[in-house]
Symmetry: C2
Subunit: 607 residues, 2 copies
């Protein structure tokens, strides 16, 4: 029945032979690689302007200049990754590039950063999506956390079913988002120059008096805006989905995506500047800008819903990227091997579950508040950026492939710039949450190492070379623990007699009357097997038994001791609760005893 | 280590021989039997007056008359139980009296009522105690639920340690409560007649306009006050703790306790009438009355703290009564047998845990609000009252012992009166929560029956009479499932060969490469044992194995099939997480297969 329910929710199992790889033309491949980076337009401009909100109306002019700086940064990162694709047309994620060129340690640092980043993509995009719905329907804003968690659970189920990233299906939300935001920017700019600043329903929450604008505040705003760059790196892992020539097509797509990202990001900031829309209560900045451009009509709702859609698609991209990276690490022995198991539906189910659990924990801790989650977000990405670019610098210097000087220059600039930004991010966001990431990444490295060492030790210990069996693992000495003497005991008794030459029954005396009965009945059975009664003044059953078995085991230091346990299996599962779980606890306790073989002989109640 | 921690928290185990029974003189025995009934003075008057608060100042005059009615009811119940003690000097709880005279079914109804009542005693007394603390220190009132749960956890730990109801220790809080409340009543009455009504700090929350007082409202108030009778019945279970002549001493104590209960209950209501103190915000009625009598000084705080103390003692009495009744029911086969196990510390630990869990759930559902819990409370008690008295009526009519006519009269009146009150309670409190009890008690009866039937069926099935072994339970056909071929497999292989005459190794092919390796290595071992490769297109391991074992089992319909599982045991417990749990899941799945014996041969990593 449980099996059936599982198939309804998660779908029936798929055969291994059903794995297939589809190659896509640029317009469809664009959909897969762009959802994640483009979706950050939903929150990045707001983060930037929010940081400046203490400066009053001045904020908007600063915002425009900082947005320009971020656009420049985008082009640096896009050019750098264009080089990565050129050099690693196969798979060029941070793990591969950094590991190959900078050594395993830095490869792991990059992976840790990316894993953290994927988890945060899920948390941030989900909460941002819920906020976008809340901007259209304010009544839900009190249930942000619950709604976000519900969304994550739904996406988890979908991904456990094995969501084929069907580009045909995803094309609609992604293009809808691109088109509706482009229209919004164009209409907004047009109306601003023809009609002037529109009346905004709710005035922005800006400080009444302008504070002094120091360089620190500007850096803070810059850090906030940098979250717009998250997701750009993902294309370097997915070159394989492009039609040949893969590398060229991927680079074209990257350039198109970069241009769109810059346009939309800058457009939203520009409109906020024109309309004087700052951080609003219970509404996203994009929602405010859309109201300014369109008023509240069908266009406004299209913008809101397409934002939600693209955020969902972005979350989904993490659900495919995280388990894939985790399984690579698991196969190399840095994470538990279970993460590399392909589940029923040909997805790395365990990875999906781990991602879902961790991102939900984050949502719960930060109570579904996008703004509070973002300081954790961009650091992981920029660690990945910097290490990849550094790796590329080493790569070009060593390989000296065609065009290595140009590559070296571009990736060199990329490495320096992203490195500096990483520093800025760490400093400005440290207190507001980045310290968590700074703490977690070294811990992850320690974990990777500990796991790797364990697997190494096991592999060595299990090797068949130079094997000499240490003890005779054949049955001879058999211990047969019994509680009451009844029908369920008999098949086990027969079994014990058949395998052992020195069989001994033992009974732990918890209750005087019960022990007397057991002894009497045992004698009546006339088995010829001695029954040892172990006294138990403290009424424990398992402890005295285990002690006794250890004693026997010490008496036969070169043999395995066999413990035959009669196991009574009731007809229904809930009936199990009505019986003492002694057999179960005993088996668990004996698992950690050396040289003890456990045999359970079941007795099923007749139907 | 876990063992050590357990001993620190719960104490080291006690030997069975350490059970001892101490008999107490009246002044100390009084302490044990009175804490629970007397503690209801902390909330019963308030419940009554609250029900009347809609009637304005009129409320207080009505309250005095209703309180008088309840005092009469108290004396009827006390006299009735005095007869119970006379007739059943051994043990005369609702279960025994009702079962013996009215049959098992009604005995079980009475027990169900009492079990529910014990659970509610814990919830109600804890929340009332927290409310009493809150009256003295208002800052804690926002954490009622958390504090109540914390208290229950602490009391659970104390009771798992095995709290000897040491009358010497409990004497202090119980007598402090009796004395301080008596002093409060005397001082209050004296000051009222010499100084008139004192100015009360916070005016009572009464309706501005008096509503019509119908008979329904008066019955509602009466029902609220009836909670004062809870706990009186407990003396009939504990006659055994009195010095000889037990019955006489117990009856004297019962009378003293009844008189004190009536005095304190009526005294508090009378003072509320004098001082015009109604239900207060964030303060208990007793606290308001104490302020009126003493003002806020050391006497006020003594009243508050002694209230908390006696409520804690009352909770504790449930912690000894519930597990005892549950173990009696378990021994008779109506509840899971685990409830009759004496734990390490000579207490019925499982009963203590069940009580703690259920009462905490109630506190959480009702958010620590005494007033909302009380409608559930008194019904269970009055079911017990009514059935006990009915049982006594039958008893006197059948036994015709000395003085049976007097007994018949008293218990007859008791049965009728408590029966009518039970009806009133059910009707007036049905909507505000009593329906839960009305629903739960029949469900409990169904559960009792189902459990009993299961144990009966099992006992019959396990009986050794007419036993003919259905299948030969000796090893011959052995299946040996392996994943990879490595060192951990070898001891198990040796064992399998030693016990079986037809051994077959099986391997589930999940990964093509791994299967090839396993096959190769197996051949290299030259065991002479055939290796069957089971294809698994859906990558499941356990399901195909179980299916295969079933197939083999069908081929040998009159034998047990032995499955030898090589079990790899890592050095540290957390390392287990790094390995697949296939062996564990396989053992679980095989437990429910008939005629399959499971042998686990451990391989411990060398230290």
């Amino acid at each position: 029945m449980i099996q059936g329910l599982r198939h309804i929710i998660f779908g029936s199992p798929l055969a291994t032979s059903q794995i297939a790889l589809i190659r896509l033309a640029i317009p469809l491949a664009f959909v897969i690689v762009s959802a994640n980076p483009l979706s950050s337009v939903a929150y990045a401009p707001e983060e930037m302007i929010r940081a400046l909100s203490g400066t009053g109306e001045e904020a908007f002019s600063y915002a425009v200049f900082i947005a320009l700086a971020i656009v420049v940064l985008m082009f640096i990162v896009v050019s750098s990754y264009s080089q990565v694709i050129r050099a690693y047309p196969g798979e060029g994620g941070a793990y591969v590039v950094a590991r190959q060129n900078l050594g395993t340690s830095l490869g792991l640092v990059g992976s840790a950063g990316l894993l953290v980043d994927y988890i945060l993509t899920v948390s941030v995009s989900t909460t941002a999506g819920v906020a976008a719905i809340g901007s259209a329907f304010p009544s839900i804003t009190h249930h942000q956390t619950e709604l976000s968690v519900t969304f994550i659970i739904l996406l988890t189920i979908i991904n456990l079913r094995g969501f084929r990233e069907s580009a045909q299906i995803l094309a609609f939300p992604v293009y809808l988002f691109v088109v509706s935001l482009l229209v919004m920017v164009v209409v907004g700019v047009f109306r601003y120059f023809t009609e002037g600043t529109p009346a905004v329903a709710s005035p922005p929450v800006l400080a009444a008096e302008a504070k002094d604008v120091g360089p620190y505040l500007l850096l803070l705003a810059f850090s906030g805006g940098c979250v717009a760059l998250t997701g750009i790196e993902s294309i370097s892992n997915t070159v394989g989905i492009f039609k040949t020539p893969e590398a060229r097509n991927a680079r074209v797509t990257l350039l198109v995506m970069g241009t769109l990202l810059a346009t939309l990001f800058f457009g939203v900031v520009l409109l906020a500047f024109f309309f004087k829309i700052g951080p609003l209560q219970g509404q996203t900045l994009v929602s405010g800008v859309a109201r300014g451009s369109f008023g509240v009509n069908v266009f406004f709702y299209v913008v809101q819903f397409s934002t939600v859609f693209i955020l969902v698609v972005a979350v989904n991209s993490s659900f495919s990227a995280f388990p894939r990276l985790a399984s690579t690490l698991a196969r190399d022995g840095f994470l538990p091997r279970a993460l590399s198991n392909l589940g029923d539906r040909l997805v790395f189910s365990n990875g999906v579950l781990v991602l879902a659990a961790l991102s939900m924990i984050l949502v719960l801790i930060f109570q579904g508040d996008t703004h509070r989650l973002i300081p954790l977000y961009s650091i992981g990405v920029f660690i990945g950026f910097t290490l990849t670019q550094l790796g590329m610098v080493v790569h070009w210097r060593q390989s000296r492939d065609k065009g290595w000087q140009r590559g070296l220059l571009i990736n060199g600039v990329g490495a320096v710039v992203t490195g500096v930004v990483l520093l800025v991010l760490t400093v400005t966001k440290f207190a507001s949450g980045a310290w968590i990431v700074v703490l977690v990444i070294p811990l992850m490295l320690l974990l990777f190492r500990a796991i790797r060492n364990h697997y190494h030790a096991v592999a060595e210990a299990l090797s068949l070379d130079h094997y000499a069996p240490p003890q005779r693992a054949v049955p001879r000495v058999v211990i047969f623990p019994i509680g009451a003497v009844h029908r369920a005991v008999l098949p086990a008794l027969e079994y014990a007699r058949a395998i052992g030459t020195r069989v001994e029954a033992v009974h732990v005396a918890v209750d005087e009357e019960a022990s007397r009965m057991a002894k009497l009945r045992w004698e009546r059975l006339e088995t010829g097997i001695p029954l040892t009664i172990i006294p138990s003044p403290y009424r424990a059953v398992v402890r005295p038994l285990v002690d006794y078995i250890q004693e026997v085991s010490r008496a036969y230091p070169s043999e395995h001791i066999t413990v035959v346990i009669p196991e009574f299996v009731p007809r229904r599962l809930w009936h199990q609760l009505l019986h003492n779980q002694t057999a179960l606890i005993l088996k668990l306790a004996l698992l950690f005893q050396r040289r003890v073989v456990v045999v359970s002989v079941p007795y099923h109640l007749p139907r």
